[in-house]
Symmetry: C2
């Protein structure tokens, strides 16, 4: 790939252009707002001059409802040899492209799953897509050359490609993006009439659970509407769970509770909570997240010191490293006459559970301080 065009220099388009320009691809920037192009160009995302011949790939980075018409217009103008887009819904824009007579052999639908709270070309970053998934939705019409060009684009942006059928993509994002967005929105909506003293108690839990709800309402209405077919059945299922929770809570707040019904209600509520824990556990941590790697258990002999556990934890703190757990099973039983200290015999040891990135520096730091670490 030597040349590219990005149509729409918002957060996503400018970030793609920054990544491509950094890899030496001559990237042309197009936008109906010339100020956005100027800012993107001034940040090094590419050139505001239109290409003199068709580029290797054009990325249509405009809102979902604008994707098909902009793509059709650029194909008619001969902007590129291959086209992709970044719309967060795939089946409906693809159908609209067909209706507008687009050439589908040179077209590969795309959806990079990355973003920021901030929008516009100033917020763009060349590494926005690094290690993020980027779905491509080729159809049987799509030529192999077009698909390979789109895969090259994803690779140059540092993202992880995932090939999906458009309807599968749409069901997936309904589950992992559109449903949480709507639920966060409805939860945040309840705050609107909340008492001032209540709203001021909102902490990190509420902020994180409702963060996505602060997104652009009109844009999100477009997205949810474009994916209504995939989203509607999920809402039906969630409504049924919500009714179960509401019934359980009504029973638990009854003025004259019946013990059997109360136990049943508590069991129903606990089952819903367990179900949430299990679903949450399926979310894989981001690449390079230490939490995704298995833990290491280090064994430290406490030796014949005074208050060895206290000294050991102080030395861990001094090394600015964090333990995930301490196993005291290898320590002599707690004796009331020496509270807080290990028994202090040479045979005593404790287990330190640490993240794998921590095991080596912690072992070195503790050995430097005279501990026997295995």
């Amino acid at each position: 790939m030597h040349t590219a065009a990005v149509v729409g220099t918002g957060l996503i388009g400018t970030s793609i252009a920054l990544a491509l320009s950094a890899r030496g691809v001559t990237t042309h920037l197009l936008d109906r707002d010339p100020d956005r192009v100027r800012i993107a160009a001034a940040r090094g995302a590419g050139t505001p001059e239109p290409p003199s011949e068709p580029v290797d790939i054009a990325v249509i980075a405009v809102p979902p409802s604008r994707t098909a018409p902009v793509l059709a217009a650029q194909q008619r103008a001969g902007l590129a040899r291959v086209y992709t887009d970044v719309a967060s819904v795939k089946a409906l824009p693809h159908a609209e492209c067909l209706a507008l007579g687009c050439d589908t052999t040179t077209l590969v639908g795309g959806h990079p799953l990355a973003g920021r709270e901030r929008s516009g070309p100033l917020a763009a970053r060349a590494d926005l897509f690094q290690d993020h998934h980027w779905v491509l939705t080729p159809t049987p019409d799509t030529s192999e050359a077009a698909l390979n060009r789109a895969l090259e684009l994803v690779s140059l942006c540092g993202a992880v490609p995932a090939l999906l059928e458009p309807p599968d993509h749409d069901r997936a994002v309904a589950l992992v993006s559109h449903l949480p967005h709507l639920m966060a929105t409805l939860t945040a909506g309840r705050l609107r009439e909340g008492e001032e003293y209540a709203v001021r108690l909102a902490g990190r839990g509420m902020r994180d659970a409702t963060r996505v709800a602060s997104g652009d309402a009109a844009l999100w209405a477009d997205i949810l509407a474009a994916n209504a077919t995939a989203l509607a059945p999920l809402l039906t299922e969630l409504s049924s769970d919500l009714a179960t929770a509401a019934e359980a809570l009504a029973q638990l707040s009854a003025a004259a509770p019946d013990p059997a019904a109360t136990a049943e209600a508590l069991a129903a509520l606990t089952a819903l909570l367990h179900r949430g824990v299990e679903g949450r556990a399926r979310i894989t941590p981001p690449y390079n997240d230490p939490a995704s790697r298995p833990h290491t258990m280090l064994s430290v002999a406490l030796g014949d010191h005074d208050r060895p556990l206290s000294r050991l934890l102080d030395d861990v703190d001094a090394a600015r490293l964090e333990l995930d757990d301490v196993d005291l099973a290898g320590l002599a039983p707690h004796r009331p006459d020496r509270p807080g200290a290990g028994a202090g015999t040479a045979a005593d040891s404790v287990g330190l559970k640490v993240a794998p990135g921590v095991a080596r520096p912690l072992t070195e730091a503790l050995r430097d301080r005279g501990w026997a670490v295995h």
Copy 2:
């Protein structure tokens, strides 16, 4: 305050003990698990020895359903002159305390609104409560001396006290903690049977929106059950909003859409999304968050340089400072012959919108590089 006792050396109890010990308060640690006390003591949270006389204040830091019985037992044993607790629900435990014959003159209910994903004494931090709200729920029975002692505790932990009636507290946490927890749980629960390809697309939005759902299911069932009376009406309201959304999406996914009904459905969906944006906007950012302070607009004269906008943005990047917006209204209109550059006349200027903490270092950095900044 010279002496304190913490009953329950989990995350919250040990964090309180660390904060008090750091301020010179002799803090006694009690827990039915001696290993937890040893770890908390070894981290410097206090002494595992019981006090020889009543301490100034005892903090009951056990799960909500254990709060009243533990408090009653410690009052009978004469542990302290004043008692507080940290249960996240207040009305029901208080009623249980009354039923168990607790002395309510020396009792101040409490709820520090802080936490971490990790639990236990190893995860504790002396600064866990710094700048967080800490609700106290004195009743008409509570003595002024007891309330002032509890306020001193909150102050020594660096937290911001908020006095509330127990039912008001419970309605507030239903809105800002228990409702988002339940909604995150139901959203995450839908993932349990999700296709593998769908679940792997879950990104930061889904992770943040469902983060709280990974909490202890049994503990949260207890919390939600204890606050069922305040939570139930919120669920009714949310169910009604959810039904509105489901109806709108059913209409939008209809096989043969009626234009008027479609427009109405889109309007209903947009209204719900706007409501969420408005509710979310009421959440105040944390103390010291730059986002809570007003922005500053700097004006930079571009002078008679080549590609001045590009040079200016490069210099901002070089200073490792971030702009929130760039206003190009003061720049000569875009000229196709010099695309991407400012017009380059001495009168040209651009506005840089920055967070207040950024204005001064950015002004200095840009002046050092020869820019005229106002």
